[in-house]
């Protein structure tokens, strides 16, 4: 019995393949549109996921809390004496001042993030640079990078190394330098820091400690790591969401296109179904042919769409979507994202594309399949 079933399906599959090949033009156009829709949706999905993952990687080592000073509701450098005051709060393990800022490089029209690391800072007049800067400015170890200070004087720094590319989202535009160099370049007051990084003993007390900081130093604003993670997530979700909404329009158009293709069965196809019914095929047999046709087109279109989207995002830097997704601060020509694909998301995409196609085609196919076998006699 099972062998009969296998043989039947093998024969019908054989016939389906020859049917698809007979209508090359129609099926190739369907395949192209289908694969394009999958490609666009998958690209948006891969990119959103990858950006969120990059952000998560960045924030993994971020301090649990950052304290900034506000002046007139705007950010202002924080006095160094606040460090000791924060340390005095019960439950605080450490409070460390941080020095960092932005530098606009008119040569390539990009912003660098300059930072003094908390440990292993480079020696004076030495810097460690991110891959993006290295690629764009074509400077490598032992080369010189000149930066213009706020006093109008140009200072030269020797490249002592490059930052590992584990997460290029922030490291691409990063320059690490010594504290004296940083303060000199920006004329940053010696008794001030950019902000203060705080770590606590008990995570559950984080909110209480944040409130204590705000009470003790009313001109400051504590920012928690969770808040940063949420902000990044919602920024990328929002950007990705807008793209997905736009692409859903494409998906809808595709469903209409598929419906039109399937319901607009040519006279030849209808005649063929009539012949099959007349020579002894049941409605179910004809539906099997139609189901195989749909499955084959879906499978190949989905596979090609997903693979090209993967290549587009992770090997060609998502050049089609990147202006909408990455934002202004990291716009580097050769920005690359670490390859990553979530099987769960791929499964969702499969349902989002294959299901509408199947639903759009099944009814018209069934309507064609229930044609009376004697229609052939009467034609």
């Amino acid at each position: 019995m099972i062998f009969k079933w296998i043989e039947k399906h093998r024969s019908i599959l054989d016939f389906t393949l020859s049917s698809l090949l007979r209508r090359k033009g129609k099926n190739l156009s369907l395949f192209a549109v289908y694969a394009l829709v999958v490609f666009m949706l998958a690209s948006a999905m891969f990119l959103t996921q990858a950006m969120k993952r990059e952000a998560a990687l960045v924030l993994k080592d971020a301090p649990e809390m950052i304290v900034q000073r506000l002046l007139g509701g705007r950010y202002d450098p924080i006095p160094m004496e606040y460090v000791e005051k924060i340390k005095s709060i019960r439950g605080v393990v450490s409070a460390a001042p941080r020095l960092w800022g932005y530098y606009y490089d008119p040569v390539i029209g990009a912003n660098y993030t300059l930072m003094v690391p908390r440990s292993d800072a480079p020696a004076s007049e030495k810097i460690v640079i991110g891959n993006g800067i290295s690629r764009t400015r074509m400077i490598y170890r032992d080369d010189i990078l000149s930066l213009r200070g706020t006093d109008g004087m140009t200072r030269s720094f020797t490249v002592a190394g490059e930052i590992s590319p584990e997460s290029e989202l922030v490291s691409a535009d990063l320059i690490l330098m010594a504290e004296t160099d940083f303060r000199g370049l920006f004329d940053f007051p010696a008794d001030r820091a950019t902000d203060i990084a705080v770590s606590v003993r008990n995570q559950k007390e984080l909110l209480t400690i944040a409130r204590k900081v705000a009470d003790l130093l009313p001109d400051t604003r504590p920012i928690l790591r969770e808040e940063m993670v949420r902000t990044y997530d919602s920024v990328f979700d929002w950007r990705g969401g807008i793209m997905i909404v736009l692409l859903l329009m494409a998906l809808l158009a595709f469903a209409i296109f598929a419906w039109e293709k399937a319901s607009g069965l040519s006279a030849d196809e209808k005649r063929e179904i009539g012949i099959l019914k007349a020579i002894g095929w049941e409605t179910a047999d004809v539906m099997i042919v139609k189901a195989y046709e749909g499955l084959l087109i879906s499978f190949f279109s989905f596979t090609v769409g997903i693979l090209t989207a993967y290549g587009h995002v992770f090997f060609f830097s998502a050049f089609l979507f990147v202006p909408a997704m990455k934002g202004w601060s990291v716009l580097y020509p050769d920005f690359r994202i670490t390859p990553f694909a979530d099987p769960y998301q791929v499964a969702i995409l499969f349902c989002l594309t294959v299901m509408p196609y199947t639903v759009a085609t099944i009814v018209p196919s069934w309507r064609a399949a229930i044609i009376d076998p004697d229609a052939v006699m009467r034609s």
Binding site: I6, K8, S11, G280, E282
Partner: protein, 242 residues
Amino acid sequence: MIKLSGIIKIFNSGRTNEFVAVGGVTLALEANRVTVLKGPSGSGKTTLLSLIGCMARPTSGRITLHNGLLSGKRFSGIGEVAEVEVTSLPERFLTEVRRQTFGFIFQQFNLVKGVTALENVMLPAYPLGEKHDTVRRRALDLLEMFGLKARAAARVEWLSGGEAQRVAIARALMNDPPVIIADEPTAHLDSKLSVDFMEIIAKLKAQGKTTVIASHDPLVCGAAMVDRVIAVRDGRIDGEGP
């Protein structure tokens, strides 16, 4: 034997364009005979043929297939039967009875374009789940029987009219049906090919096949192997000839 009792077929019943194609036919067709339904266009002979071949259901009346046509046939869900009243069968069983009992030869040949002559012949066997190689071998044997083995790999649109019809006959015989139903089989053939066709029918008769042909071609109606000519007019039987 195929028995028709009080068969009526009405198209578009109850609508303004209602049309009575068959208006009360009672008829018995013997096994292993060649019967021709003769009549002008629109007389209802094609409709009658499709009712006999279980392609359509009558509006009223009964069609019964009797022993002799069904011997050795086993239908899933019905089993081995001596006779079966086909008009009340559900679609699935009706399709199976049609597939196992009747082979159809159409006026336009109705071959599937774009595939080979061989695959066209194999098509009726696909839903049966027989081994692909067995089906292929049987189809090749049939094509050989009709002198078409060399054309097996040719697409059907490359075949001549005579070749296409012989492929259609081979296809009709693929599931070894006891009854051949042919609708205006010589309408698109010249006289020589029409005579050739009737010779094939004679051979099939010699093999024990029952044939029912709808035609108004004198070459068919007057052929020596034809046992019975039934005149059909306005959906009714209008006399009978030899």
